[in-house]
């Protein structure tokens, strides 16, 4: 299953791109509207991009009234990413979404590097969300956690149904001439190719620690990259930054993944899940 990374596509502005996905993940919705951070919000580096959008979104009221009906008409499952600043925020947001049949799943953004981290640990935030909804709950974690596998296990025990790994990791870039930080917020979230090995390591660690399904996200640009995330334990793959350069990436990555699987004698991505764990590293002679 190929999804988008939250915040990497506006399905209403580019519906054809969204329909090429197996499910669409919304930009993170917060309790109140947010304009987001001041420009400048994006910067390219040699190994990826930095963003500091700051969870710009219309807030849950307008999302439910104005955006969700249009998203539902796309005809693909809609996953709603939510973010808050406390456990009651997550509980309220889940309650509001619980009764909406248009919502296939809820992704808990517990890891945005561009806003203040929510009060409370992952256990408390996931448990609050769990108490408010029967919808599938995916916990999106940061790769910057000292022990991401332990946090994944805590999310599982608190009632999460799945994991999304990983969010961006904090980075900084400087202006070529002035050496001033490029972004208005100084730092931003690093995504793209640089995040690929980081995501592989986080998915690998969490697949060993948890039995939950995992959406692997981080620097996927090709079918080979998707296969590698699946091989370390991802059950689905999210694509993000590549969409900015290549909005045709969903269909392309899906076709390339099928070719990659065929080349190793497999037909179903599920057969490749966790293959890396079964392989023994070759020792130098």
């Amino acid at each position: 299953m190929i999804l988008n990374g939250s915040g990497c596509l506006d399905a209403l502005a580019a519906p054809g791109v969204a329909r090429a996905l197996d499910a669409f993940v919304t930009k993170t919705v917060t309790p109140l509207p947010r304009e987001g951070n001041a420009p400048l919000r994006i910067a390219e580096t040699e190994v990826g991009m930095l963003n500091s959008i700051g969870l710009a979104n219309p807030g849950i009221d307008r999302f439910l009234a104005d955006l969700l009906p249009g998203l539902a008409r796309l005809g693909i499952p809609i996953w709603v990413s939510i973010g808050g600043f406390s456990a009651p925020d997550y509980e309220d947001l889940c309650q509001r979404l619980d009764g909406r049949v248009e919502v296939a799943a809820i992704e808990l953004n517990l890891s945005c590097p561009n806003v203040q981290a929510p009060d409370g640990g992952v256990t408390e935030l996931v448990a609050s969300a769990r108490a408010a909804t029967a919808k599938p709950l995916y916990a999106k974690l940061s790769p910057a956690l000292p022990d991401v596998a332990a946090v994944a296990l805590a999310a599982e025990r608190a009632g999460a149904d799945g994991l999304t790994l990983v969010n961006t990791i904090r980075g900084l870039s400087l202006d070529e001439e002035t050496l001033a930080p490029t972004l208005s917020t100084t730092t931003g979230g690093l995504s793209g190719p640089a995040l690929r090995p980081v995501a592989l390591a986080a998915v690998h660690a969490c697949y060993s620690a948890s039995t939950l399904p995992i959406v692997g996200v981080g620097g996927v640009e090709s079918g080979r990259h998707a296969l590698e995330l699946i091989a370390v334990g991802a059950s689905s793959v999210g694509i993000g930054t590549i969409l900015f350069r290549d909005p045709g990436a969903p269909a392309r990555v899906r076709a390339e993944l099928a070719s990659e699987l065929a080349a190793i004698g497999l037909s179903d991505p599920a057969e490749a899940r966790g293959l890396a764990r079964a392989q023994v590293a070759l020792l130098p002679v």
Partner: protein, 242 residues
């Protein structure tokens, strides 16, 4: 290599048919493929070889079978685009955004520096509209060769000193110039600029303040009304001061 047509966005890998200097800038021509040139003021996303993100470029000229872009090599991405030569390939997505309205009675084209980029295609579509161009030096003014017959002013003379504000102004240039144009002609059409990662509303990187909110320039612009730009400049100045 084309996007599935159902995406509504068209991206193709195009071959460079020629490139050459125009004053301090470089005009890069590519085979058009099946891409539509769109309306003047619309833009395309060009991916510099080896780069993670594409760069927004307005269409400069639309010769038969070709698209031409005027590149100012000021950063890593634009230097890589300016280095493209005949036979190289480049991924191009577009046309994108909202261009100039062409239903104007008494047009006057106003350009400054690299902001002359969309004017040759605009002039071709409008017929024989008068043109005023401003440049910071005689070297930069050589780029006016793209617009034969244009009136040219060079710093310290400003384009706003040379234009008739009662005409329907269609402008593109540096922010201070566009702000000055907007002050004397609030209904002018001005092509604004912002860094963009995608060009089709996905990244939220190109926001400018319009109507009191941060709005995506790729969807609401890049061509805006002059009075909208005055607010946009306010937020840019605040951001710069922060």
């Amino acid at each position: 290599m084309r996007c599935p047509s159902r995406s509504g966005l068209r991206r193709e890998r195009l071959s460079v048919t020629g490139a050459g200097p125009v004053g301090p800038y470089r005009l890069v021509r590519v085979g058009r493929g099946d891409l539509d040139p769109g309306e003047p003021g619309q833009f395309f996303m060009l991916t510099p070889p080896g780069h993670v993100l594409p760069r927004p470029m307005s269409l400069c000229l639309a010769p038969p079978g070709e698209l031409a872009f005027l590149i100012d090599p000021v950063g890593k991405g634009t230097r890589a685009l300016a280095a493209l030569g005949e036979g190289d390939e480049v991924d191009v997505l577009g046309p994108l955004g909202r261009g100039y309205r062409l239903d104007v009675g008494r047009p006057l084209l106003v350009g400054g520096g690299i902001g002359i980029a969309p004017l040759p295609y605009l002039a071709a579509r409008l017929g024989d509209a008068p043109i005023v161009l401003g440049f910071r030096s005689e070297r930069h003014a050589k780029a006016a060769a793209l617009l034969p017959g244009a009136q040219i002013v060079v710093d310290p003379v400003l384009v706003t000193e040379a234009l008739d504000p009662s005409r329907d102004l269609l402008a593109c240039g540096p922010e201070p110039m566009l702000r000055a144009v907007a002050r004397i002609a609030p209904e002018a059409q001005v092509a604004w600029e912002a860094p963009m990662a995608c060009g089709f509303g996905a990244c939220y990187g190109c926001v400018v303040e319009l109507g009191g909110h941060l709005r995506r320039l790729c969807l609401d612009g890049p061509v805006l009304a002059g009075h909208e730009v005055l607010a946009a400049s306010d937020v840019s100045e605040r951001a710069a001061a922060a």
